[in-house]
Protein backbone atom coordinates (compact mmCIF):
# COMPACT_ATOMS: atom_id res chain seq x y z
CA UNK A 1 0.00 0.00 0.00
CA UNK A 2 2.92 2.30 -0.49
CA UNK A 3 4.12 1.51 -4.01
CA UNK A 4 2.12 4.24 -5.85
CA UNK A 5 3.61 6.99 -3.64
CA UNK A 6 7.13 5.53 -3.79
CA UNK A 7 8.16 7.77 -6.75
CA UNK A 8 7.56 10.70 -4.41
CA UNK A 9 8.89 9.23 -1.16
CA UNK A 10 12.18 7.87 -2.49
CA UNK A 11 13.58 11.13 -3.93
CA UNK A 12 12.10 13.19 -1.08
CA UNK A 13 13.77 10.94 1.49
CA UNK A 14 17.03 11.04 -0.47
CA UNK A 15 16.86 14.82 -0.60
CA UNK A 16 16.31 15.08 3.16
CA UNK A 17 19.11 12.64 3.98
CA UNK A 18 21.45 14.54 1.66
CA UNK A 19 20.60 17.73 3.57
CA UNK A 20 21.42 16.06 6.89
CA UNK A 21 24.80 14.95 5.54
CA UNK A 22 25.62 18.29 3.94
CA UNK A 23 29.06 18.43 5.60
CA UNK A 24 30.31 15.28 3.85
CA UNK A 25 30.26 15.25 0.06
CA UNK A 26 31.37 11.60 0.02
CA UNK A 27 28.38 10.53 2.07
CA UNK A 28 26.00 12.70 0.03
CA UNK A 29 27.28 11.07 -3.12
CA UNK A 30 26.67 7.56 -1.76
CA UNK A 31 23.18 8.43 -0.56
CA UNK A 32 22.40 10.10 -3.88
CA UNK A 33 23.59 7.07 -5.85
CA UNK A 34 21.61 4.72 -3.64
CA UNK A 35 18.51 6.90 -3.88
CA UNK A 36 18.77 7.10 -7.69
CA UNK A 37 19.12 3.33 -8.01
CA UNK A 38 16.18 2.80 -5.66
CA UNK A 39 14.07 5.20 -7.73
CA UNK A 40 15.07 3.40 -10.91
CA UNK A 41 14.07 0.09 -9.29
CA UNK A 42 10.75 1.61 -8.21
CA UNK A 43 10.13 2.88 -11.73
CA UNK A 44 10.78 -0.57 -13.22
CA UNK A 45 8.49 -2.30 -10.69
CA UNK A 46 5.80 0.29 -11.40
CA UNK A 47 6.28 -0.19 -15.14
CA UNK A 48 5.74 -3.94 -14.79
CA UNK A 49 2.69 -3.38 -12.56
CA UNK A 50 0.98 -0.94 -14.90
CA UNK A 51 1.72 -3.13 -17.91
CA UNK A 52 -0.31 -5.87 -16.15
CA UNK A 53 -3.02 -3.72 -14.60
CA UNK A 54 -4.17 -0.48 -16.18
CA UNK A 55 -3.04 1.69 -13.31
CA UNK A 56 -2.42 1.51 -9.59
CA UNK A 57 -3.71 4.15 -7.22
CA UNK A 58 -3.65 5.10 -3.58
CA UNK A 59 -5.69 7.57 -1.56
CA UNK A 60 -3.35 8.51 1.25
CA UNK A 61 -4.59 8.23 4.82
CA UNK A 62 -7.52 5.91 3.90
CA UNK A 63 -9.66 8.94 3.12
CA UNK A 64 -12.63 8.14 0.89
CA UNK A 65 -12.53 9.51 -2.67
CA UNK A 66 -13.02 12.16 -3.96
CA UNK A 67 -11.98 13.82 -0.67
CA UNK A 68 -8.73 11.96 -0.12
CA UNK A 69 -5.62 13.05 -1.95
CA UNK A 70 -5.12 10.44 -4.61
CA UNK A 71 -2.07 9.42 -6.58
CA UNK A 72 -2.51 7.29 -9.68
CA UNK A 73 0.39 5.67 -11.49
CA UNK A 74 -0.66 4.90 -15.04
CA UNK A 75 1.55 4.07 -18.00
CA UNK A 76 2.30 7.72 -18.73
CA UNK A 77 3.28 8.35 -15.12
CA UNK A 78 5.43 5.23 -14.89
CA UNK A 79 7.24 6.09 -18.13
CA UNK A 80 8.05 9.64 -17.00
CA UNK A 81 9.12 8.46 -13.54
CA UNK A 82 11.49 6.07 -15.31
CA UNK A 83 12.98 8.95 -17.31
CA UNK A 84 13.39 11.01 -14.13
CA UNK A 85 15.10 8.10 -12.36
CA UNK A 86 17.44 7.50 -15.27
CA UNK A 87 18.35 11.19 -15.46
CA UNK A 88 19.03 11.58 -11.76
CA UNK A 89 21.26 8.49 -11.91
CA UNK A 90 23.22 9.96 -14.81
CA UNK A 91 23.49 13.32 -13.04
CA UNK A 92 24.83 11.64 -9.91
CA UNK A 93 27.37 9.74 -12.01
CA UNK A 94 28.32 12.94 -13.82
CA UNK A 95 28.87 14.68 -10.51
CA UNK A 96 31.58 12.10 -9.71
CA UNK A 97 33.61 13.09 -12.78
CA UNK A 98 35.38 16.39 -13.36
CA UNK A 99 33.45 17.72 -16.36
CA UNK A 100 31.64 20.84 -15.13
CA UNK A 101 30.17 19.41 -11.92
CA UNK A 102 28.15 21.59 -9.54
CA UNK A 103 30.12 22.74 -6.50
CA UNK A 104 27.76 23.18 -3.61
CA UNK A 105 26.70 21.09 -0.66
CA UNK A 106 23.10 21.90 -1.52
CA UNK A 107 23.31 20.45 -5.02
CA UNK A 108 22.20 16.92 -4.09
CA UNK A 109 19.26 17.94 -1.87
CA UNK A 110 17.97 20.31 -4.55
CA UNK A 111 18.53 17.75 -7.32
CA UNK A 112 16.48 15.10 -5.55
CA UNK A 113 13.96 17.70 -4.45
CA UNK A 114 13.42 18.64 -8.10
CA UNK A 115 13.01 14.97 -8.99
CA UNK A 116 10.55 14.48 -6.11
CA UNK A 117 8.50 17.45 -7.29
CA UNK A 118 8.43 16.32 -10.90
CA UNK A 119 7.72 12.64 -10.12
CA UNK A 120 4.89 13.65 -7.80
CA UNK A 121 3.49 15.94 -10.50
CA UNK A 122 3.63 13.01 -12.96
CA UNK A 123 1.54 10.79 -10.68
CA UNK A 124 -0.75 13.37 -9.04
CA UNK A 125 -4.45 12.68 -9.64
CA UNK A 126 -5.62 15.85 -7.99
CA UNK A 127 -5.36 19.32 -9.47
CA UNK A 128 -4.34 21.10 -6.28
CA UNK A 129 -1.80 18.43 -5.47
CA UNK A 130 -0.41 18.88 -8.97
CA UNK A 131 -0.08 22.59 -8.31
CA UNK A 132 1.77 21.97 -5.04
CA UNK A 133 4.31 19.69 -6.72
CA UNK A 134 4.78 22.18 -9.54
CA UNK A 135 5.77 24.61 -6.82
CA UNK A 136 8.17 22.17 -5.15
CA UNK A 137 9.87 21.59 -8.49
CA UNK A 138 9.95 25.35 -9.11
CA UNK A 139 11.54 26.13 -5.73
CA UNK A 140 14.18 23.43 -6.15
CA UNK A 141 15.02 24.56 -9.67
CA UNK A 142 15.34 28.13 -8.39
CA UNK A 143 17.80 26.86 -5.82
CA UNK A 144 19.79 25.04 -8.48
CA UNK A 145 19.83 28.15 -10.68
CA UNK A 146 20.91 30.50 -7.89
CA UNK A 147 23.73 28.22 -6.74
CA UNK A 148 26.41 29.89 -8.83
CA UNK A 149 25.84 33.03 -6.77
CA UNK A 150 27.25 35.45 -9.35
CA UNK A 151 25.33 38.30 -10.94
CA UNK A 152 24.79 36.24 -14.09
CA UNK A 153 23.19 33.42 -12.11
CA UNK A 154 20.98 35.72 -10.07
CA UNK A 155 19.85 37.48 -13.23
CA UNK A 156 18.84 34.14 -14.75
CA UNK A 157 17.14 33.11 -11.51
CA UNK A 158 15.11 36.30 -11.36
CA UNK A 159 13.91 35.97 -14.97
CA UNK A 160 13.06 32.33 -14.44
CA UNK A 161 11.23 33.09 -11.22
CA UNK A 162 9.26 36.04 -12.58
CA UNK A 163 8.06 34.21 -15.68
CA UNK A 164 7.24 30.99 -13.88
CA UNK A 165 5.37 32.93 -11.23
CA UNK A 166 2.97 34.13 -13.94
CA UNK A 167 2.34 30.51 -14.90
CA UNK A 168 1.89 29.54 -11.28
CA UNK A 169 -0.64 32.29 -10.62
CA UNK A 170 -2.58 31.38 -13.76
CA UNK A 171 -2.64 27.77 -12.60
CA UNK A 172 -3.81 28.71 -9.13
CA UNK A 173 -6.56 30.93 -10.54
CA UNK A 174 -7.71 28.13 -12.83
CA UNK A 175 -7.72 25.66 -9.92
CA UNK A 176 -9.79 28.03 -7.80
CA UNK A 177 -12.29 28.74 -10.61
CA UNK A 178 -12.62 25.07 -11.38
CA UNK A 179 -13.20 24.22 -7.74
CA UNK A 180 -15.79 26.96 -7.55
CA UNK A 181 -17.57 25.66 -10.65
CA UNK A 182 -17.53 21.94 -9.87
CA UNK A 183 -16.66 21.50 -6.19
CA UNK A 184 -14.04 18.94 -7.10
CA UNK A 185 -10.29 18.75 -7.60
CA UNK A 186 -9.82 15.03 -8.15
CA UNK A 187 -9.25 14.28 -11.85
CA UNK A 188 -11.86 11.52 -12.06
CA UNK A 189 -14.45 13.55 -10.19
CA UNK A 190 -13.69 16.55 -12.43
CA UNK A 191 -14.01 14.47 -15.58
CA UNK A 192 -17.47 13.35 -14.43
CA UNK A 193 -18.71 16.76 -13.31
CA UNK A 194 -17.44 19.09 -16.06
CA UNK A 195 -20.33 18.17 -18.35
CA UNK A 196 -22.81 19.74 -15.92
CA UNK A 197 -21.04 23.11 -15.92
CA UNK A 198 -21.93 25.97 -18.25
CA UNK A 199 -19.84 25.31 -21.41
CA UNK A 200 -18.74 28.96 -21.68
CA UNK A 201 -17.30 28.93 -18.17
CA UNK A 202 -15.73 25.53 -18.80
CA UNK A 203 -14.07 26.78 -21.96
CA UNK A 204 -12.63 29.81 -20.17
CA UNK A 205 -11.29 27.73 -17.28
CA UNK A 206 -9.82 25.10 -19.58
CA UNK A 207 -8.16 27.85 -21.58
CA UNK A 208 -6.64 29.32 -18.42
CA UNK A 209 -5.38 25.92 -17.34
CA UNK A 210 -3.87 25.22 -20.75
CA UNK A 211 -2.23 28.64 -20.71
CA UNK A 212 -0.63 27.90 -17.33
CA UNK A 213 0.72 24.57 -18.55
CA UNK A 214 2.01 26.17 -21.75
CA UNK A 215 4.06 28.62 -19.67
CA UNK A 216 5.50 25.67 -17.74
CA UNK A 217 6.19 23.75 -20.94
CA UNK A 218 8.03 26.75 -22.47
CA UNK A 219 5.84 27.03 -25.58
CA UNK A 220 5.66 30.09 -27.84
CA UNK A 221 5.20 32.93 -26.76
CA UNK A 222 5.87 32.01 -23.11
CA UNK A 223 9.25 30.42 -23.64
CA UNK A 224 11.41 33.40 -22.59
CA UNK A 225 12.35 31.83 -19.24
CA UNK A 226 14.06 28.87 -20.86
CA UNK A 227 16.86 30.44 -22.93
CA UNK A 228 17.19 33.19 -20.29
CA UNK A 229 18.18 30.71 -17.62
CA UNK A 230 19.59 27.50 -19.09
CA UNK A 231 22.93 28.89 -20.23
CA UNK A 232 24.10 29.60 -16.69
CA UNK A 233 23.74 26.10 -15.29
CA UNK A 234 26.42 23.49 -14.60
CA UNK A 235 26.14 20.34 -16.75
CA UNK A 236 24.24 17.93 -14.44
CA UNK A 237 21.59 20.50 -13.51
CA UNK A 238 21.27 21.45 -17.16
CA UNK A 239 20.67 17.84 -18.21
CA UNK A 240 18.05 17.38 -15.52
CA UNK A 241 16.31 20.68 -16.33
CA UNK A 242 16.11 19.87 -20.02
CA UNK A 243 14.84 16.35 -19.35
CA UNK A 244 12.25 17.16 -16.69
CA UNK A 245 11.07 20.76 -16.43
CA UNK A 246 9.16 21.16 -19.67
CA UNK A 247 7.87 17.57 -19.34
CA UNK A 248 5.94 18.44 -16.19
CA UNK A 249 3.90 20.91 -18.22
CA UNK A 250 3.58 18.48 -21.13
CA UNK A 251 2.41 15.65 -18.86
CA UNK A 252 -0.16 17.87 -17.15
CA UNK A 253 -1.36 19.10 -20.54
CA UNK A 254 -1.82 15.58 -21.92
CA UNK A 255 -3.83 14.58 -18.85
CA UNK A 256 -5.94 17.74 -18.97
CA UNK A 257 -6.76 17.51 -22.65
CA UNK A 258 -7.30 13.80 -23.00
CA UNK A 259 -8.76 12.57 -19.75
CA UNK A 260 -10.30 15.49 -17.83
CA UNK A 261 -11.82 17.99 -20.24
CA UNK A 262 -12.83 15.60 -22.89
CA UNK A 263 -13.91 16.46 -25.54
CA UNK A 264 -11.81 19.61 -25.48
CA UNK A 265 -13.39 22.68 -27.06
CA UNK A 266 -12.50 22.88 -30.76
CA UNK A 267 -11.30 26.54 -30.76
CA UNK A 268 -8.82 25.74 -27.97
CA UNK A 269 -7.41 22.83 -29.93
CA UNK A 270 -6.87 24.87 -33.07
CA UNK A 271 -5.24 27.60 -30.93
CA UNK A 272 -2.98 24.92 -29.48
CA UNK A 273 -2.09 23.80 -32.99
CA UNK A 274 -1.09 27.33 -33.99
CA UNK A 275 0.96 27.77 -30.80
CA UNK A 276 2.64 24.43 -31.52
CA UNK A 277 3.61 25.38 -35.06
CA UNK A 278 4.88 28.78 -33.94
CA UNK A 279 6.92 27.19 -31.13
CA UNK A 280 8.49 24.80 -33.62
CA UNK A 281 9.43 27.54 -36.04
CA UNK A 282 10.51 30.23 -33.56
CA UNK A 283 12.57 27.72 -31.58
CA UNK A 284 14.44 26.43 -34.57
CA UNK A 285 15.06 29.92 -35.98
CA UNK A 286 16.31 31.13 -32.61
CA UNK A 287 18.69 28.21 -32.54
CA UNK A 288 19.95 28.98 -36.04
CA UNK A 289 20.81 32.53 -34.94
CA UNK A 290 22.89 31.69 -31.86
CA UNK A 291 26.52 30.56 -31.51
CA UNK A 292 26.52 29.63 -27.82
CA UNK A 293 26.09 25.86 -27.63
CA UNK A 294 23.79 25.94 -24.65
CA UNK A 295 21.58 28.63 -26.15
CA UNK A 296 21.28 26.68 -29.41
CA UNK A 297 20.21 23.57 -27.53
CA UNK A 298 17.84 25.54 -25.28
CA UNK A 299 16.09 27.04 -28.32
CA UNK A 300 15.80 23.58 -29.80
CA UNK A 301 13.95 22.49 -26.68
CA UNK A 302 11.27 25.06 -27.49
CA UNK A 303 11.03 23.76 -31.02
CA UNK A 304 10.72 20.18 -29.77
CA UNK A 305 8.04 21.16 -27.26
CA UNK A 306 6.18 22.43 -30.33
CA UNK A 307 6.19 18.92 -31.81
CA UNK A 308 4.65 17.49 -28.64
CA UNK A 309 1.98 20.19 -28.60
CA UNK A 310 1.26 19.57 -32.27
CA UNK A 311 0.63 15.90 -31.55
CA UNK A 312 -1.66 16.84 -28.66
CA UNK A 313 -3.56 19.38 -30.72
CA UNK A 314 -4.64 16.55 -33.06
CA UNK A 315 -6.64 15.27 -30.07
CA UNK A 316 -6.69 11.62 -31.08
CA UNK A 317 -5.41 8.48 -29.39
CA UNK A 318 -2.58 8.15 -31.88
CA UNK A 319 -1.74 11.84 -31.39
CA UNK A 320 -1.46 11.39 -27.61
CA UNK A 321 0.65 8.28 -28.06
CA UNK A 322 2.97 10.19 -30.42
CA UNK A 323 3.27 13.05 -27.91
CA UNK A 324 4.21 10.66 -25.10
CA UNK A 325 6.74 8.86 -27.29
CA UNK A 326 8.23 12.18 -28.35
CA UNK A 327 8.44 13.44 -24.76
CA UNK A 328 10.41 10.35 -23.73
CA UNK A 329 12.70 10.58 -26.75
CA UNK A 330 13.27 14.29 -26.28
CA UNK A 331 14.18 13.96 -22.59
CA UNK A 332 16.89 11.42 -23.32
CA UNK A 333 18.30 13.05 -26.44
CA UNK A 334 18.32 16.62 -25.19
CA UNK A 335 19.93 15.67 -21.87
CA UNK A 336 22.58 13.78 -23.82
CA UNK A 337 23.24 16.75 -26.09
CA UNK A 338 23.63 19.12 -23.15
CA UNK A 339 26.08 16.70 -21.54
CA UNK A 340 28.04 16.56 -24.83
CA UNK A 341 28.09 20.37 -24.83
CA UNK A 342 29.58 20.25 -21.33
CA UNK A 343 32.27 17.87 -22.62
CA UNK A 344 33.06 20.29 -25.46
CA UNK A 345 33.32 23.09 -22.91
CA UNK A 346 35.62 21.05 -20.69
CA UNK A 347 37.90 20.10 -23.58
CA UNK A 348 38.14 23.50 -25.22
CA UNK A 349 37.15 26.00 -22.53
CA UNK A 350 34.36 27.64 -24.53
CA UNK A 351 30.67 27.26 -25.23
CA UNK A 352 30.98 29.66 -28.16
CA UNK A 353 31.15 27.67 -31.39
CA UNK A 354 33.36 30.29 -33.05
CA UNK A 355 36.12 29.68 -30.49
CA UNK A 356 36.19 25.88 -30.56
CA UNK A 357 37.13 23.29 -33.13
CA UNK A 358 39.31 20.35 -34.02
CA UNK A 359 37.69 18.04 -31.46
CA UNK A 360 37.16 15.19 -33.94
CA UNK A 361 40.89 14.47 -33.97
CA UNK A 362 41.04 14.65 -30.17
CA UNK A 363 37.91 12.72 -29.23
CA UNK A 364 36.45 10.67 -32.10
CA UNK A 365 34.24 8.77 -29.63
CA UNK A 366 32.60 11.97 -28.39
CA UNK A 367 32.14 13.11 -31.97
CA UNK A 368 30.35 9.85 -32.78
CA UNK A 369 28.09 10.07 -29.73
CA UNK A 370 27.24 13.68 -30.51
CA UNK A 371 26.44 12.76 -34.10
CA UNK A 372 24.16 9.95 -32.91
CA UNK A 373 22.30 12.27 -30.55
CA UNK A 374 22.11 15.09 -33.10
CA UNK A 375 20.76 12.83 -35.84
CA UNK A 376 18.25 11.41 -33.40
CA UNK A 377 17.07 14.93 -32.56
CA UNK A 378 16.72 15.67 -36.26
CA UNK A 379 14.77 12.47 -36.76
CA UNK A 380 16.94 10.39 -39.03
CA UNK A 381 16.56 6.60 -38.95
CA UNK A 382 17.58 4.37 -37.20
CA UNK A 383 17.45 6.57 -34.09
CA UNK A 384 14.60 7.24 -31.64
CA UNK A 385 13.76 10.66 -33.10
CA UNK A 386 12.78 9.13 -36.41
CA UNK A 387 9.97 7.15 -34.82
CA UNK A 388 8.85 10.14 -32.77
CA UNK A 389 8.54 12.34 -35.85
CA UNK A 390 7.15 9.50 -37.95
CA UNK A 391 4.29 8.98 -35.48
CA UNK A 392 3.49 12.68 -35.38
CA UNK A 393 3.68 13.31 -39.13
CA UNK A 394 1.66 10.18 -39.90
CA UNK A 395 -1.11 11.22 -37.52
CA UNK A 396 -1.10 14.74 -39.04
CA UNK A 397 -1.59 13.20 -42.50
CA UNK A 398 -4.29 10.82 -41.23
CA UNK A 399 -6.18 13.78 -39.77
CA UNK A 400 -5.79 15.73 -43.00
CA UNK A 401 -3.53 18.42 -41.53
CA UNK A 402 -1.18 18.54 -44.50
CA UNK A 403 0.20 21.99 -43.66
CA UNK A 404 1.18 20.88 -40.14
CA UNK A 405 2.86 17.77 -41.50
CA UNK A 406 4.78 19.84 -44.03
CA UNK A 407 5.90 22.34 -41.36
CA UNK A 408 7.00 19.50 -39.06
CA UNK A 409 9.22 18.16 -41.83
CA UNK A 410 10.51 21.64 -42.69
CA UNK A 411 11.45 22.30 -39.07
CA UNK A 412 13.23 18.94 -39.11
CA UNK A 413 15.36 20.18 -41.99
CA UNK A 414 16.21 23.38 -40.11
CA UNK A 415 17.08 21.33 -37.04
CA UNK A 416 19.44 19.36 -39.24
CA UNK A 417 21.09 22.63 -40.28
CA UNK A 418 21.85 23.78 -36.73
CA UNK A 419 22.91 20.33 -35.51
CA UNK A 420 25.33 20.13 -38.42
CA UNK A 421 26.49 23.64 -37.59
CA UNK A 422 27.49 22.44 -34.13
CA UNK A 423 29.11 19.29 -35.43
CA UNK A 424 31.08 20.99 -38.18
CA UNK A 425 32.17 23.91 -35.99
CA UNK A 426 33.06 21.99 -32.85
CA UNK A 427 34.39 18.75 -34.26
CA UNK A 428 35.26 19.04 -37.93
CA UNK A 429 36.84 22.43 -38.56
CA UNK A 430 40.41 22.96 -37.27
CA UNK A 431 40.73 24.91 -34.04
CA UNK A 432 40.94 28.69 -34.66
CA UNK A 433 44.19 29.12 -32.71
CA UNK A 434 47.17 27.09 -33.91
CA UNK A 435 48.93 26.07 -30.68
CA UNK A 436 45.74 24.81 -29.04
CA UNK A 437 45.79 21.83 -26.68
CA UNK A 438 42.68 20.03 -25.49
CA UNK A 439 42.21 20.06 -21.71
CA UNK A 440 42.67 16.75 -19.99
CA UNK A 441 39.74 14.96 -18.38
CA UNK A 442 41.15 13.32 -15.25
CA UNK A 443 38.17 11.17 -14.32
CA UNK A 444 36.52 10.18 -17.62
CA UNK A 445 34.79 6.96 -16.50
CA UNK A 446 31.67 8.36 -14.73
CA UNK A 447 30.87 10.84 -17.50
CA UNK A 448 31.54 8.36 -20.30
CA UNK A 449 29.32 5.78 -18.61
CA UNK A 450 26.49 8.29 -18.42
CA UNK A 451 26.77 9.32 -22.06
CA UNK A 452 27.13 5.73 -23.31
CA UNK A 453 24.10 4.65 -21.27
CA UNK A 454 21.99 7.36 -22.92
CA UNK A 455 23.28 6.56 -26.41
CA UNK A 456 22.62 2.84 -26.00
CA UNK A 457 19.04 3.49 -24.86
CA UNK A 458 18.42 5.88 -27.75
CA UNK A 459 19.85 3.42 -30.24
CA UNK A 460 17.82 0.58 -28.70
CA UNK A 461 14.60 2.60 -28.98
CA UNK A 462 15.51 3.42 -32.58
CA UNK A 463 16.19 -0.18 -33.56
CA UNK A 464 13.42 -1.88 -31.58
CA UNK A 465 10.63 0.67 -31.28
CA UNK A 466 7.69 -1.78 -31.22
CA UNK A 467 7.55 -2.49 -27.45
CA UNK A 468 7.71 1.22 -26.60
CA UNK A 469 5.19 2.18 -29.29
CA UNK A 470 2.86 -0.51 -27.93
CA UNK A 471 3.34 0.83 -24.42
CA UNK A 472 2.60 4.45 -25.35
CA UNK A 473 -0.44 3.34 -27.40
CA UNK A 474 -1.79 1.58 -24.32
CA UNK A 475 -0.97 4.67 -22.27
CA UNK A 476 -2.97 6.86 -24.65
CA UNK A 477 -5.85 4.38 -24.67
CA UNK A 478 -5.94 4.39 -20.91
CA UNK A 479 -5.87 8.21 -20.78
CA UNK A 480 -8.79 8.51 -23.16
CA UNK A 481 -10.73 5.75 -21.42
CA UNK A 482 -13.93 5.01 -23.31
CA UNK A 483 -13.96 8.30 -25.16
CA UNK A 484 -13.28 8.22 -28.91
Amino acid sequence: MILPVAPLLVPLGTSLLCTLTSNSVQLQRKISLLGSLLLLGTAIVLGVQVADHQSISLASGSWPLPFGIEVVVDRLGALLVFVAALMVLICTLWQMGDVDPAHSSFFYPLLHGLVAGSCAAFIAADLFNLYVWFEVALICSLGLLAQGGTLKHLDATLKYFALNLVGTLLLLTAVALLYGATGHLNFNALAMSVQYVNPAIMQAVTGLLILAFLVKAAAFPFFAWLPASYHTLPAPSLALFSALLSKIGICALIRTLSSIFHPSPEPLLSMLGIIAVLSMIVGVLGAAYHWDLRRILAFHSISQVGYMLLAMALSTRAGDAAAIFFALHHSLVKAGLFLCAAMIFKLSGHYDLRKVGGLYAEKPGLAAIFLLLALSLVGIPPFSGFWGKYLIVRECLVQGEYLWAFLALLVGALTFYSMMKIWLEAFWKPHPSAGWQAAKIVKPIPVTTGLCLLSVIILAIGLFPEPLIGFVNDAANHLRGHAP
Binding site: V5, L17, A59
Partner: protein, 143 residues
Protein backbone atom coordinates in the same frame (compact mmCIF):
# COMPACT_ATOMS: atom_id res chain seq x y z
CA UNK B 1 24.90 43.93 21.05
CA UNK B 2 26.89 46.42 23.02
CA UNK B 3 24.75 46.79 26.13
CA UNK B 4 23.21 43.95 28.08
CA UNK B 5 19.90 44.02 29.87
CA UNK B 6 20.52 41.99 33.01
CA UNK B 7 16.97 41.87 34.29
CA UNK B 8 15.68 40.76 30.90
CA UNK B 9 18.40 38.08 30.69
CA UNK B 10 17.55 36.61 34.08
CA UNK B 11 13.86 36.75 33.25
CA UNK B 12 14.43 35.10 29.86
CA UNK B 13 16.44 32.22 31.35
CA UNK B 14 13.41 31.28 33.39
CA UNK B 15 10.85 32.04 30.70
CA UNK B 16 12.44 29.99 27.91
CA UNK B 17 11.73 26.53 29.39
CA UNK B 18 8.22 27.64 30.28
CA UNK B 19 7.57 28.69 26.69
CA UNK B 20 8.96 25.42 25.34
CA UNK B 21 6.82 23.41 27.78
CA UNK B 22 3.82 25.48 26.75
CA UNK B 23 4.54 24.73 23.12
CA UNK B 24 4.74 21.02 23.98
CA UNK B 25 1.40 21.24 25.73
CA UNK B 26 -0.01 22.90 22.62
CA UNK B 27 1.53 20.15 20.48
CA UNK B 28 -0.33 17.50 22.51
CA UNK B 29 -3.56 19.37 22.95
CA UNK B 30 -3.93 21.54 19.85
CA UNK B 31 -5.57 24.95 19.90
CA UNK B 32 -9.01 23.60 19.19
CA UNK B 33 -8.98 19.82 19.86
CA UNK B 34 -6.47 17.12 18.79
CA UNK B 35 -2.79 17.98 18.43
CA UNK B 36 -1.46 21.10 16.81
CA UNK B 37 2.04 20.63 15.46
CA UNK B 38 2.03 23.79 13.41
CA UNK B 39 0.86 26.24 16.06
CA UNK B 40 3.08 24.58 18.67
CA UNK B 41 6.04 24.97 16.31
CA UNK B 42 5.26 28.66 15.97
CA UNK B 43 5.21 28.99 19.77
CA UNK B 44 8.63 27.38 19.94
CA UNK B 45 9.81 29.83 17.27
CA UNK B 46 8.52 32.67 19.45
CA UNK B 47 10.55 31.30 22.36
CA UNK B 48 13.70 31.04 20.24
CA UNK B 49 13.23 34.52 18.77
CA UNK B 50 12.69 36.09 22.20
CA UNK B 51 15.83 34.35 23.41
CA UNK B 52 17.74 35.65 20.38
CA UNK B 53 16.55 39.22 20.93
CA UNK B 54 17.66 39.28 24.55
CA UNK B 55 20.89 37.26 24.21
CA UNK B 56 21.95 36.78 20.58
CA UNK B 57 21.04 34.59 17.63
CA UNK B 58 23.91 32.10 17.96
CA UNK B 59 23.05 31.44 21.64
CA UNK B 60 19.40 30.95 20.67
CA UNK B 61 20.44 28.58 17.90
CA UNK B 62 22.47 26.54 20.42
CA UNK B 63 19.38 26.30 22.63
CA UNK B 64 17.51 24.48 19.84
CA UNK B 65 17.84 20.67 19.82
CA UNK B 66 19.66 20.72 16.46
CA UNK B 67 20.88 23.38 14.04
CA UNK B 68 17.76 24.99 12.48
CA UNK B 69 18.16 23.49 8.98
CA UNK B 70 18.83 20.03 10.40
CA UNK B 71 15.94 20.35 12.82
CA UNK B 72 13.45 21.10 10.06
CA UNK B 73 14.76 18.29 7.84
CA UNK B 74 14.57 15.82 10.73
CA UNK B 75 11.02 16.98 11.34
CA UNK B 76 9.98 16.24 7.76
CA UNK B 77 11.69 12.84 7.99
CA UNK B 78 9.78 12.04 11.20
CA UNK B 79 6.52 13.09 9.52
CA UNK B 80 7.26 10.93 6.46
CA UNK B 81 8.17 7.97 8.67
CA UNK B 82 4.95 8.32 10.68
CA UNK B 83 3.03 7.10 7.63
CA UNK B 84 4.96 3.83 7.48
CA UNK B 85 3.47 1.79 10.39
CA UNK B 86 0.10 1.83 8.61
CA UNK B 87 1.72 0.32 5.52
CA UNK B 88 2.87 -2.69 7.54
CA UNK B 89 -0.71 -3.16 8.72
CA UNK B 90 -1.87 -3.23 5.10
CA UNK B 91 -3.43 0.23 5.20
CA UNK B 92 -2.65 3.02 2.69
CA UNK B 93 0.38 5.19 3.42
CA UNK B 94 -0.25 7.97 5.95
CA UNK B 95 -3.24 6.22 7.52
CA UNK B 96 -2.92 6.62 11.27
CA UNK B 97 -3.91 3.62 13.38
CA UNK B 98 -4.83 4.09 17.05
CA UNK B 99 -3.88 1.96 20.01
CA UNK B 100 -5.30 2.13 23.55
CA UNK B 101 -2.98 1.67 26.49
CA UNK B 102 -4.60 0.81 29.82
CA UNK B 103 -2.72 2.46 32.66
CA UNK B 104 -4.51 1.29 35.79
CA UNK B 105 -7.42 3.67 36.13
CA UNK B 106 -7.40 5.61 32.86
CA UNK B 107 -6.92 4.73 29.23
CA UNK B 108 -4.28 6.39 27.06
CA UNK B 109 -4.97 6.58 23.34
CA UNK B 110 -1.90 6.60 21.16
CA UNK B 111 -1.59 7.05 17.44
CA UNK B 112 1.04 7.64 14.77
CA UNK B 113 -0.75 10.98 14.24
CA UNK B 114 1.25 12.15 17.28
CA UNK B 115 4.46 11.32 15.44
CA UNK B 116 3.25 13.22 12.39
CA UNK B 117 2.43 16.24 14.54
CA UNK B 118 5.82 16.01 16.22
CA UNK B 119 7.38 16.05 12.75
CA UNK B 120 5.39 19.15 11.78
CA UNK B 121 6.38 20.77 15.10
CA UNK B 122 10.09 20.17 14.52
CA UNK B 123 9.90 21.21 10.86
CA UNK B 124 8.18 24.50 11.70
CA UNK B 125 10.47 25.23 14.63
CA UNK B 126 13.52 24.53 12.47
CA UNK B 127 12.44 26.32 9.30
CA UNK B 128 10.67 29.43 10.64
CA UNK B 129 13.03 29.58 13.63
CA UNK B 130 16.01 29.43 11.29
CA UNK B 131 14.61 32.29 9.20
CA UNK B 132 13.86 34.42 12.27
CA UNK B 133 17.29 33.84 13.80
CA UNK B 134 18.92 34.69 10.50
CA UNK B 135 16.98 37.96 10.30
CA UNK B 136 17.96 38.82 13.88
CA UNK B 137 21.56 38.00 12.97
CA UNK B 138 21.52 40.52 10.13
CA UNK B 139 20.15 43.14 12.53
CA UNK B 140 22.96 42.33 14.98
CA UNK B 141 25.56 42.75 12.23
CA UNK B 142 24.24 46.19 11.36
CA UNK B 143 24.15 47.49 14.92
Amino acid sequence: MTSRAHIAEVFMRGLYPVLIIASFWMLLRGHNAPGGGFIAGLMAVAASSAYALIFNSSKASKKMPLLPARLSVSGVLVALASGLPAVFQGLPYLSHPWWTLSLGGFKLSLSTVMLFDLGVYLAVWGAIGGICLHLIETIEENL
